[in-house]
């Protein structure tokens, strides 16, 4: 990561680089709870997200590009998730999968549950559902790929330095439909 976060790359190079990142999302499944089962379902025969270049062969965080936080994040687990996220090399993406990871879900009033993974790590795509069906994850992945294709790595890294957590929000205050 020396050059790429300093210099805005020329368009064709950027296109190819973005394309590479888009179709090679090695995925570290942070399977925490129920949603992990639907995550596995999304990786198996019927849905098979390997079609989209999401390769679930990254067993450790070092090789991963995409962290799918699927399930309830407890306060006891939160440091480990943060640590794993930090162990992933840049550029890295996070999908928050399911209500628990989005903001606590059914355990909104529990004393031991972290109310949303975006409190500790930045999230790129939120997939709603409890648990979301596998197709919903595919939809989230396609949305993420769309985002990767059009992003600028320089802006991404620079933005992360400024505001590490709210990177996921495009326009945090402009609520749609209000």
């Amino acid at each position: 990561m020396g050059l790429m976060d300093q210099v805005e790359l020329p368009q064709p190079v950027k296109y190819v680089f973005n394309w590479g990142r888009k179709y090679s999302l090695w995925c570290f499944n942070f399977g925490l709870a129920c949603c992990a089962i639907e995550f596995i379902a999304a990786s198996t025969s019927r849905h098979d997200f390997i079609r989209h270049g999401v390769i679930p062969f990254a067993h450790g965080p070092r090789q991963a590009d995409l962290l799918v936080v699927s399930g309830t994040l407890t306060d006891k687990m939160a440091p480990a998730v943060k640590r794993l996220y930090e162990e992933m090399p840049e550029p890295k993406y996070v999908i928050s999968f399911g209500s628990c990871a989005n903001c606590g879900g059914p355990y909104w009033d529990s004393y031991s549950v972290t109310k949303g993974v975006d409190q500790i790590i930045p999230v790129d795509v939120y997939v709603p559902g409890c648990p979301p069906r596998p197709e919903a994850l595919l939809d989230g992945i396609i949305a993420l790929q769309d985002r990767i294709q059009h992003e600028s790595l320089k802006d991404r890294i620079a933005g992360r330095r400024l505001d590490p957590v709210t990177l996921g929000a495009d326009a945090p205050l402009a609520l749609e439909g209000r």
Binding site: G31, C34, A41, S45, P61, P106, S110, V113, P131
Partner: protein, 393 residues
């Protein structure tokens, strides 16, 4: 080993602050120390966030200490602040692979407290879906256990079947994992048209595909080499620890509340209970596989029994269990699930204590893992079937 003396160093996925004591063996110029290997909470083998700290002498495990609580969400406390309808939606999440059986337990407890009559049709349909749910659960474990032994393919086949079954159950309940289909006094709504026919068809399909698992996994010599004689659990030890479900049945004890204390209509049909001999990893797995066949047998019998009629009885506007307490146990896919429900007559339970099968099953892990090799430890870990949420609640 450059990092034996740097205790602060943390492996991927370990939480900091875990104090590890080292024991030095031998003396003179070349003493050896045990290595503490922390597996989990985020490790590919633990399917969830279960953590085991292994004290290793080379590749041999000297001591295994399960560390639980990474998935503790305070279910029992949350249940005290939710009315019975809301609890039903909550409890299917503690063992996320057997949602229907969990909510069935709560429904049975409330019905017992309120002395409610449940229509026959509802009971038969409950059995039908509970058995499908059991198959869903077992298929998942067949896949994940194979993955732990390095065989990736059974998972893909198992999930193909799972998708079909989930599609079937979704057409009736609307959910894929969390069905929320029970309610005190019966079921929320009757089955859609064609459900029973589809269920019958699917039961033949799954039955036809089962030999694939026997051929691909159970009959494989490498698999047998990895599991036969690994982690044998004597039946008396299993009983004293409180192990239930397929893990207990693998030791040769045919304990199953569906037979010994029939609930619903299990008393009216023939419930096969497959048992093993040695209680080793191989037996545990083969029990699991044969339990799928048993469940299919039950499903086929249920199809002939479902009577016409209503599926729910009239409920009061607000379900309130009368003052008192009750205990209900059901055979969940992983073992016996017990709910101790205590009520002070209000709209929420005063206390809902859960006796979850996974929690009892993992108590056997330190016993089983003593003195085995690291790969065998993984083989044992996968064969003592548990769901982390069910351990920690």
């Amino acid at each position: 080993m450059s990092d034996l003396d740097t205790k602060e160093r943390i492996q991927p996925g370990t939480a900091p602050g875990e104090d590890v004591a080292f024991e030095i063996h031998g003396d003179g110029d070349f003493p050896t120390a045990d290595m503490s290997l922390s597996i989990g909470p985020a490790h590919p083998a633990t399917h969830g966030v279960f953590r085991i700290v292994l004290e290793m002498d080379g590749e041999r495990v000297r001591e295994a200490r399960p560390v639980i609580g990474y998935m503790h969400r305070g279910f029992e406390k949350l249940a005290e602040y939710r009315d019975y309808r809301q609890i039903k939606a909550l409890v299917n999440r503690h063992d996320w692979l057997s949602g229907f059986s969990n909510e069935l337990g709560v429904a049975l407890a409330v019905e017992k407290m309120m002395e409610m009559e449940v229509p026959d049709r509802a009971q038969w349909i409950r059995m039908l879906i509970a058995e499908w749910n059991r198959i869903l659960n077992h298929l998942m474990f067949i896949g994940s256990y194979a993955i732990e032994l390095g065989a990736i393919t059974p998972m893909f086949y198992a999930f193909r079947e799972r998708e079909d079954i989930q599609h079937l159950l979704e057409s009736a309940t609307g959910g894929r994992l969390h069905f929320t289909y029970n309610q005190p006094g019966g079921l929320k709504i009757d089955l859609p048209k064609g459900f029973l026919r589809e269920s019958q068809r699917l039961s033949t399909v799954v039955r036809e595909r089962l030999p694939d698992y026997f051929d691909l996994v159970l009959g494989n010599e490498i698999f047998q080499g990895r599991t036969k004689g690994i982690g044998p659990l004597p039946s008396d030890v299993a009983l004293s620890i409180g192990v239930t479900g397929p893990t207990l049945q693998a030791t040769g004890v045919a304990e199953d509340p569906r037979v010994t204390e029939p609930y619903l209509k299990y008393g009216e049909i023939d419930v096969p209970v497959p048992v093993g001999e040695n209680g080793d990893s191989f037996d545990r797995f083969s029990c699991l596989l044969r339990r799928i066949q048993a469940s299919l047998d039950i499903i086929d019998q249920v199809h002939d029994h479902v009577p016409p009629g209503p599926v729910n009885s009239k409920l009061p506007k607000m379900v309130k269990a009368p003052e008192g307490a009750t205990y209900v146990r059901t055979e969940n896919p992983l073992g016996q699930l017990g709910y101790w429900l205590e009520s002070d007559g209000g709209r929420t339970p005063w206390r809902l204590k859960m006796r979850t099968p996974s929690f009892s099953n993992v108590q056997a892990i330190p016993y089983l893992m003593e003195g085995v090799l690291l790969p065998d430890a993984i083989s044992i870990l996968g064969s003592v079937f548990f769901v982390v949420g069910d351990i920690d609640r």
